[in-house]
Symmetry: C2
Subunit: 341 residues, 2 copies
């Protein structure tokens, strides 16, 4: 990718429309089949609990009624709304950014972790741990405005493909979750993303793909500064971590952005544990759901021993805490929306 690709936002937006179409179809489906707003969910206890929660929440006088202003539902993104294997999508993006920016940084050929990224040496990258990843994110995600950064993300998403499925990442969103988002919004829930991923990375595409506007995205962030650049008011992204929205950071991010406790939370890994714990501990009816990746044929099967999206504590403690475990293999009739091209 070259700086000229900054100009390609319009075409990137057109290409994102494929994903938007998937969402529109999900919405249309939800409206048409009023008897079943969640057609991609198999009949079973998980679906039954979700539907019962929403029915009670929206039935005035029911014990589970939730006033509309308090109908806040929070969703993790990676592994909950879209695929996170074999690596986080933002990780693929960061590696590609290192490659795109390498001509301006000849020193990266000799410096880790950049050299590993340039050589596609994932083992060496992994050996560098979180520190190596942070270095790469700082070097590749800062220096632009949020708007420029989002255009770079959209351009990348328009051409990048998943290594196994060969499809754009924005098509590897979970059809049952698109239906669930639409179903909740139909019942006046405000749907938020609360992700460990970068807030501006998510904002670049969350609205066309999920119907979630920028102001309802909570994520990890780097610091920014307001300044005049040649007289033009500009917000600049700085190479400094501002906030990590993961684990115990998720309730903090929720309080910071939303300022009240959600009544429903959806996650898939132990990084979502505290979010589900925080939501579940509120008074009144609560819905806490973990997606369990147990379908190696249609997607991936992983939990306790995965470095990406590890899920152990949630499996052990979730059921006795009243959390719903969704098995992708048995609870989801479809995994991904149909290909749009």
């Amino acid at each position: 990718m070259t700086p000229a690709s900054l100009l390609g936002a319009a075409s990137a937006r057109r290409r994102l429309c494929g994903a938007a179409l998937g969402l529109a179809l999900a919405r249309a489906g939800a409206v048409r089949a009023q008897a079943d707003p969640l057609p991609s969910w198999a009949e079973g206890p998980a679906k039954a609990r979700i539907v019962a929660f929403v029915r009670a929440a929206t039935t005035s006088g029911s014990g589970g009624f939730v006033p509309p202003a308090e109908r806040i539902a929070v969703f993790d993104n990676d592994g909950t709304l879209w695929a996170e294997q074999p690596a986080y999508v933002q990780f693929f993006f960061a590696i590609d950014r290192v490659r795109a920016l390498a001509p301006r940084h000849p020193e990266w050929q000799r410096t880790q972790p950049f050299r590993a990224a340039l050589e596609g040496d994932l083992a060496a990258l992994a050996a560098g741990g979180e520190q190596a990843l942070l270095q790469i994110v700082m070097a590749t995600h800062a220096g632009t405005t949020p708007q420029e950064f989002q255009e770079i993300v959209r351009d990348w998403l328009a051409t990048a493909r998943h290594p196994r499925f060969g499809r754009p990442f924005t098509e590897l969103v979970y059809q049952p979750m698109l239906e669930l988002l639409a179903y909740l919004r139909t019942h006046n829930f405000k749907t938020y993303i609360v992700s460990g991923g970068g807030i501006e990375f998510l904002r670049a595409w969350a609205e066309p793909v999920y119907g979630i506007p920028p102001e309802q995205v909570v994520g990890s962030s780097i610091k920014t500064r307001y300044e005049l650049r040649a007289g033009v008011p500009t917000i600049v992204r700085l190479p400094q971590i501002d906030f990590i929205d993961d684990g115990a950071g998720k309730p903090v991010g929720i309080e910071r952005h939303i300022g009240r406790r959600p009544v429903a939370a959806f996650g898939n890994s132990d990084g979502d544990f505290e979010m589900l714990e925080w939501v579940s501990a509120g008074a009144g009816p609560r819905l806490a759901v973990l997606v369990h990746h147990d379908d190696a044929v249609r997607e991936y099967a992983y939990d306790r021993h995965s470095s990406v999206g590890r899920l152990a504590r949630g499996l052990d403690e979730g059921p006795r805490r009243g959390w719903t475990i969704v098995g992708m293999k048995s609870d989801w009739r479809t995994i991904f929306p149909p290909a749009t091209r």
Copy 2:
């Protein structure tokens, strides 16, 4: 105030209903008098520009049309939505908190700036500058959960009175601005507070008083931490500044929380300059408004030489930047809503 007053939230909420009633009346007024949604605004250029902007923004096909998702309007609070003289309301609150907490802090009798606060020595406090104020805020605003803190704020608001007007601070909101908030929302604008004041201080009362929910409040903040306290999931407020939402911090706070540039901004001091500048610099139709406090009889008259709400650069540069200056004396028929008790 004693810790027992933490239990008084329900009664505080009832008392806040007076302010909520004012808002309801403003809303009802806006619906009934369709010919004039802003009855407390005198006919004149300021009102005409506001109405023209909203009409164009909501008229499909007009050059000034704004798609509903982009109808974001941001409001400063102190001096824009409610009175900020002779001192910020949160300052009165902090002083009272020092008094309430003093029995637990005998050392405050001998330590500045606490001694000055206890003795009501505003000159000594002012001499300590921003550092003294931050010390007081850290000492009095941390250590609780956001929910406990908000209950303390609501209890205080229920009994505190403005030194000149003798009315609750939540009744010293500007009736023309209540009408404007309702008018904008009627036209599908999302209204946000973007204040230098504390985010949780504002969230304690912004919804009943202004109809602005917690998730649409942006403000200064201290850090928080998620932890289990005797097994109970808890968010704890820490004595560390997280973010100062003032001046050049306001566009940063807007990007952080909202993630897109608003189309309308309302302020009253040079602390709002960068917010109006940022909003005005966007493409397409924009509305930037400064409230000028020029009515010593009904409220206060201050601008260039005030330590609270200083307005100089905005007066000098605003008009040639296309910003609208609202003169309270001539543009507002009414300042405050009628007393509710």
